[in-house]
């Protein structure tokens, strides 16, 4: 009789367990496997000065004002460089979620530029997984300043510089992202025969997000320059900055040894030596407008 009671009690177990079964857990087993695409690797389309993996989504327009002040070692007379500044204005527009075009102008060499950022791969996990996001950036810069010697037979093509960059980025966590940017800058004309037309460079960019809207950003480009004109000392550009996102705007405040705001100027032509105090305060303000709904 006791054995029977034990058996009967054991038979009741399924009913007891069912009553307490967590329905929520059963949902995990029926959910379809999906691909989770990484978003917002960086807060905006620039790491500090260089392009980031981010681009405008379809129908979005970004207006950007980039500001660089002069060198801090100019001392209090020049308000540590604040008295002088140059401004780069640019617009970039997302034709699709993965393709954007941009135009810009910087007063250095009165340069107008146009660029295209093409998304190739997106970092993702889940059904389809990809460890990094990769985009291609192609840029043409046109130096529109008057030629040094108008009496010479000057060519329009001398004004041109071409830039190719691969933006390879990985969002490691909500807080930390890293980007590698191999760069090729081809300058149609250079200072002397000692300067090579092609400049190769590898950029490293990183950001650490310390709250939902702010991050510390870092950027460094190693420049491979086997030979160059005597009398000029080039330096690799290094920048540190803070990104602050406030809804439609992203503010980037930075300290950098490079005055330039396009690849040719801040990578290929950079002479700023941070050890001598040739550090520029700068900021970028960008505003995103949604021109068309998109989806």
């Amino acid at each position: 009789m006791r054995k029977l009671k034990i058996i009967l009690l054991n038979l009741l177990l399924p009913f007891i367990l069912f009553a307490q079964e967590d329905l929520l857990n059963t949902l995990d087993s029926i959910a379809e496997p999906t691909t989770n695409y990484t978003a917002a690797t960086f807060k905006t389309t620039r790491v500090v000065t260089g392009h980031s993996i981010e681009s405008m989504k379809e129908g979005q327009l970004e207006f950007r004002i980039s500001h660089r002040f002069q060198k801090m070692n100019e001392g209090p007379g020049q308000l540590w460089g604040l008295d002088q500044s140059i401004i780069f204005l640019s617009l970039e527009y997302g034709v699709t979620d993965w393709l954007e075009f941009g135009v810009g102008r910087t007063p250095t060499e009165k340069t107008y530029n146009g660029f295209m950022k093409l998304g190739l791969y997106r970092q993702s996990t889940g059904k389809s997984s990809m460890p990094v996001s990769i985009s291609y950036l192609g840029e043409i810069d046109i130096n529109s300043a008057p030629f040094d010697d108008p009496t010479l037979n000057n060519f329009f093509t001398s004004r041109l510089t071409f830039v190719h960059q691969l933006l390879i980025a990985k969002k490691y966590s909500d807080e930390f992202s890293l980007q590698l940017t191999p760069t090729l800058i081809h300058r149609n004309i250079v200072l002397s025969s000692l300067d090579k037309n092609d400049i190769y460079s590898l950029g490293v960019g990183a950001r650490y997000k310390f709250n939902t809207r702010c991050s510390f950003n870092f950027e460094y480009f190693y420049v491979y320059r086997p030979s160059y004109s005597t009398g000029v000392t080039y330096n690799n550009p290094v920048s540190v900055g803070v990104d602050i996102e406030t809804g439609g705007h992203v503010f980037q405040i930075m300290l950098t040894n490079s005055l330039g705001m396009i690849s040719k100027h801040y990578i290929a032509d950079n002479v700023g030596d941070w050890r001598k105090g040739e550090i520029h305060l700068g900021f970028n303000i960008s505003r995103v407008f949604t021109l068309f709904g998109g989806k």
Binding site: D22, L23, L27, G247, T290
Partner: protein, 183 residues
Amino acid sequence: MRKLCILILFWGLYTAAFAQDKYFSKTGHVWFYSKTPVEVIEAHNNQVASVISTKTGSLAFEIINKSFKFERALMEEHFNENYIESGKFPKSTFSGKFTDFDVTNFSKEGSYKVNVEGDLNIHGVKKHIKTPGTIDIKGGKIYAKSKFIVKPEDYGIEIPGLVRDKIGKNMDITVDIIYSPNK
């Protein structure tokens, strides 16, 4: 001994019948909406997973936060990055039961007004909520609808002063799910 065998036989049949008591949906529709003089916020999620147990009258929802789609990509990015923080909280869930509802009604066709009570978990905060809804049993499927209000600040979702006017204090949540007995 014979009695025991018959008992076990019946028990076996009864527990087998238990397995038929769940209705599922993998494509449930949940959307939220708020309107202020400055901005309209609306996002739709059409991949909500949900289950109703018709034997116990309980139900559960699992919502992947990243699956909420907005018309404006920037709004969707801010929703995930700054508000719901989908990196930290990938899912919103609900686990509860129908109150004062005769579960035998699940096998009869008809329209019923119901009340649901349970734990709503959003952004890592769990709150006990009660909400009315309607259930239509038709052609072997359960059509469930409900509308209720959620206050983002109740769930630790911080809305900074700068954008306070754009996001309503109350979010209208609408649930519209069709359940089938097959998984």
